[in-house]
Symmetry: none
Amino acid sequence: MDLRRQILDASRQILIEQGYGALSLRRIASMIGCSATAIYLYFDNRDALVHSLIDEGFDLLYDRVASAAASPRDPHDALDGLRRIAWEYIAFGLENPEYYEIMFLLNPREMARFPTEKYRRAARSMEPFADELRAGIAAGRLRAVDPRGFVNVVWASLHGGTAIVLARRLDVRIDRERFLRALLENTLLGVALDPAMHAEPTAEPALRAVDARRA
Amino acid sequence: MDLRRQILDASRQILIEQGYGALSLRRIASMIGCSATAIYLYFDNRDALVHSLIDEGFDLLYDRVASAAASPRDPHDALDGLRRIAWEYIAFGLENPEYYEIMFLLNPREMARFPTEKYRRAARSMEPFADELRAGIAAGRLRAVDPRGFVNVVWASLHGGTAIVLARRLDVRIDRERFLRALLENTLLGVALDPAMHAEPTAEPALRAVDARRA
Amino acid sequence: MDLRRQILDASRQILIEQGYGALSLRRIASMIGCSATAIYLYFDNRDALVHSLIDEGFDLLYDRVASAAASPRDPHDALDGLRRIAWEYIAFGLENPEYYEIMFLLNPREMARFPTEKYRRAARSMEPFADELRAGIAAGRLRAVDPRGFVNVVWASLHGGTAIVLARRLDVRIDRERFLRALLENTLLGVALDPAMHAEPTAEPALRAVDARRA
Amino acid sequence: MDLRRQILDASRQILIEQGYGALSLRRIASMIGCSATAIYLYFDNRDALVHSLIDEGFDLLYDRVASAAASPRDPHDALDGLRRIAWEYIAFGLENPEYYEIMFLLNPREMARFPTEKYRRAARSMEPFADELRAGIAAGRLRAVDPRGFVNVVWASLHGGTAIVLARRLDVRIDRERFLRALLENTLLGVALDPAMHAEPTAEPALRAVDARRA
DNA sequence: GATGAATGAGGATTCATTCAT
DNA sequence: CATGAATGAATCCTCATTCAT
């Protein structure tokens, strides 16, 4: 019924199945079963449509990350909060490759048409992480580092890991979850007071879900 | 004269100036001044051309990284070798955005036509790093970790940092070099025996060169 | 409030600013702020709308020409009346390029859908001129010519001059007003009893106004 | 065989039969029987195609006018040369309405994309007339007037007459040829030494040809 | 080796118009 | 009186690719 919603969903599906390059108005229309011109009733043009998708993606990511930040955490594990937030970021990427693609992987040239400012919202996604970090430092649970700098460092690591997995560039013999967990743990070392705390990673529920879906 | 060479160079130039989306045979041909069909004499099709570029890129990257691994290092700094190699990877990405784009940033769906195996060569690029790592561990200069796992972790970090910078998604107020150095130092923490060794980052020559070129 | 009026006015404005090719229902509607379908409540279709504009234009032109014919004239100048009327025609064209375009310049094929008869009203616009001419001949102030034939000759001249100016095809080094006056004087030679009466053209108020508006 | 020639000819035919607004690449292609994209092998884009047509038209017009200027003339008729040249202009317009349309009648807004300079060639078409005029004045056969100014005046008249006829806006009860001849004679009055020379117009061969073709 | 001619599929977008409300 | 939803046809144009030369 809600054609606008249908358009956005069809776009995401095409993104998932065929990639950004295949996201044409015609294809969207034929997938929905409406005329290509109907899309113009809801979006000014193709870019505006992608734009809306990007906005949706950033909202979704922020909500997930923020809710992870709001969830209860292990009081005996100083890194637990950071870990949960970081995992949520990764899980978002793996569970919503179509959003992640247009939000973070889109060819820099392709996205030149989109207002740079929009992409700054990427940084906002890491704010809950920054808050958690500052709180930990203030409470003396975490090593004192420059919060802003460290947030970017963590973001880069998470992004790198997510991108590599999504692009299926990881050696098939490597267990994805172990890889991502090792990446995260290594990254968080920078604020860990006691490196000895880093035990073997256990099964990560968020990733299990992704695996199940993909299988 | 060597038309094949000209084609590849023109392709790279288009990639640099206009991005992957603009890489069309027609454009390549008109830039060189030959006919579009002439390209088919040297490449089976458009994909094969990109393929060759990717191959070249991987060769180039490997050479740089390998030569960094072969260069003399500070005997008093256990991380010096790893650092040099890692920096070389980053520098390659920043200096050759056109190669890096098709090698690592290309939309996963777009490149579905390329043999996945080819992309495994990405891993090979990190072999010199792995060698250095194993040597360090064997010599007791580095903390004992699973070399293969750690290499992937480092790769993810480097890739994330490089990708963020290339996509110009880093907050403009953040100094790029400091960001990348912090990222690298934080990543190498995992194998550092003595965390106290991490001093303030100094100017990084490789990045200076990139800056100069971009300016 | 009067939507019909608003539609017509918006159409004229689009005609002025963007030309006939840009006169689309969608554009009209968006300029007014109503729906495109609303236009169909007042006009059968796009053609009918243009039709109405043409009608308006012919009415406007006739009124101006007729009022020029009714204005007092120099009793010592036998051509004064003809001159005033002719100038009014030219001034109408230059001041209302949007009307003039659809009335007289519209591609003959484009307007095939409009009843040819409508365009015959163009001739009616010259009737005051014809009357003046007949009166002058009857009074012996003007050379005896076939009125109907001469009216068409004058019309052709005026139209040619107006069209050339509106299409901006006149060499920029040529003064527009002098050009038009020379054209008019030359045309009126045919009914002038004494060619010596043709003095230097003085400033023409009607054109001054147009100039002011365009500047 | 010569597709470029075919494209131009088909374009002219569409122009004649359906007008400028109907001149689309698809229509051209389907008329010829080739693909629409084939047109791009010979013309950069639609504008360039029209451009070529305009160039052809101006060349054709100039050739005709120039050859009229070169033809022998009645030594006893001071206006004979001017008359022949002017008629040739009119005849060109009536015989080649498709050329005349894009050269002189094209909507001013539509042709904004074409270099203004091109349209200056319109003036060049009147040069043979200007030469003849100057020669006549120099020889004392014609009344001394400002040649440049008078040329424009004549051009405006010819253009007006031609445009009115082509647009079929002339009252059907008026004989087209008589109308055009009257227009021309009246226009040439400005340089005639002896107004008494203007006899009844005789049949004009050029127009007969047009009539025959149209019938 | 290299080219020119040609194509079919597909790209985004605009338009006038209809219909149910 | 007015609208919103929707469409089909049309617009120009770009692309990778083929084929005969």
